[in-house]
């Protein structure tokens, strides 16, 4: 569920002209970069001069970077600005639908980011590892359950074959074995796996 704008087929239809589409895309990318630099700077209560100091650039360069009409931003400059914010940089050529989604909210709040924080990242890594482990265990239980049930069915089939021509004492033995089995039925294993997956998703 996106917290930004949806994009309709009518909206996309307006971008059918290649020259218009290229102008739209270029301006949207430049505007997003400019707005994000400003949003990140203001999130940290830095002046343009302060960001300039941290990035090793004069204030007027920062001012230009915050102007969407400035068309000469270089990758090197962006890497330097990202480093000043303690952030990584992502340059990508995504599918259009992904691009529309990513560009769907340019509000300053949506552009705020947290700098590199080892403790925070370690906690996220731990949570993800635990979630993965829970899910793996649940699936493992499910597959073991399936295997045991398969073995049981095989045993029953073998017994049934063997029972042909034998007395009812053998039939009673099969019934007793099935009734005292501690193996959970397949449905329960699936439910356990599903519950673990839901819990893992919540934790993540």
């Amino acid at each position: 569920m996106s917290a930004g704008f949806a994009w309709s087929k009518e909206f996309v239809g307006q971008l059918g002209n290649e020259e218009l589409r290229n102008a739209y895309t270029a301006d949207h990318v430049r505007t997003r970069i400019a707005l994000q630099i400003r949003a990140l700077r203001e999130q940290r209560d830095w002046s343009q001069a302060e960001l300039g100091e941290r990035a090793g650039k004069p204030q007027n360069v920062i001012s230009r970077l915050e102007d969407p009409d400035y068309g000469a931003v270089t990758l090197k400059t962006l890497l330097g600005i990202a480093a000043a914010f303690n952030l990584p940089l992502l340059v990508d050529m995504p599918e259009w639908e992904e691009w529309f989604d990513r560009m769907s909210d340019l509000s300053s709040r949506a552009l705020h980011r947290q700098g590199f924080d080892l403790d925070r990242l370690a906690a996220i890594a731990d949570r993800r590892a635990a979630a993965t482990s829970d899910a793996a265990a649940a699936f493992s239980r499910m597959f073991i359950g399936q295997q045991v049930i398969h073995d049981l069915y095989s045993s029953v089939a073998n017994y049934n074959s063997a029972l042909i021509g034998q007395g009812s004492r053998e039939q009673e033995k099969v019934a007793a074995m099935l009734s005292t089995s501690t193996v959970p039925p397949l449905g329960a294993a699936l439910a356990a796996a599903q519950n673990a997956a839901v819990a893992a998703a919540r934790a993540a």
Partner: protein
Amino acid sequence: MALARREFTIAKLSCAPGRGYIVRHRKNVISLMVAFWTIRCYVSEQGVDEIQAWYIRQSAKVQGKFLSRLKVLAQLELKDWRLPLFRWLHGDCVPLGELRFEVQKVQHRPLGYRAGERVFTLTFCAKEKSNRFVPANACQIALRHKANIENGKGSSNVCWLRLE
């Protein structure tokens, strides 16, 4: 059951301070949207949408950039309607504001005014050269169109461009 859980999540988010969210229900699909500005366009006494007429006369580059800027502004909080994307004008031009963008060294300045809580009405599209509007009386024209809307001589339409 799943629907009820979704509605609960949205209800919590809609209470988030400082940000307007609206919830859309369409064919059992619920989506969460950032509250949107409505952009309106001046329609003359003759029934001509003057902003659309201006748009049609522009190059594809100008059209693309104009669409981009409208879409960006429409999703920003009022406090973020500021330079370098936008500027509220002073003096004789109050209460007008100008969208600001450049295409091939031409500074475009579509002018309009805030016509409601989240409504902005475009009334005239000017240019700027050497810190002056082209035409020089752009503010007066934009204000006259605003007056026409208010006294019923003209009107305004919701912008024909789709922003979502």
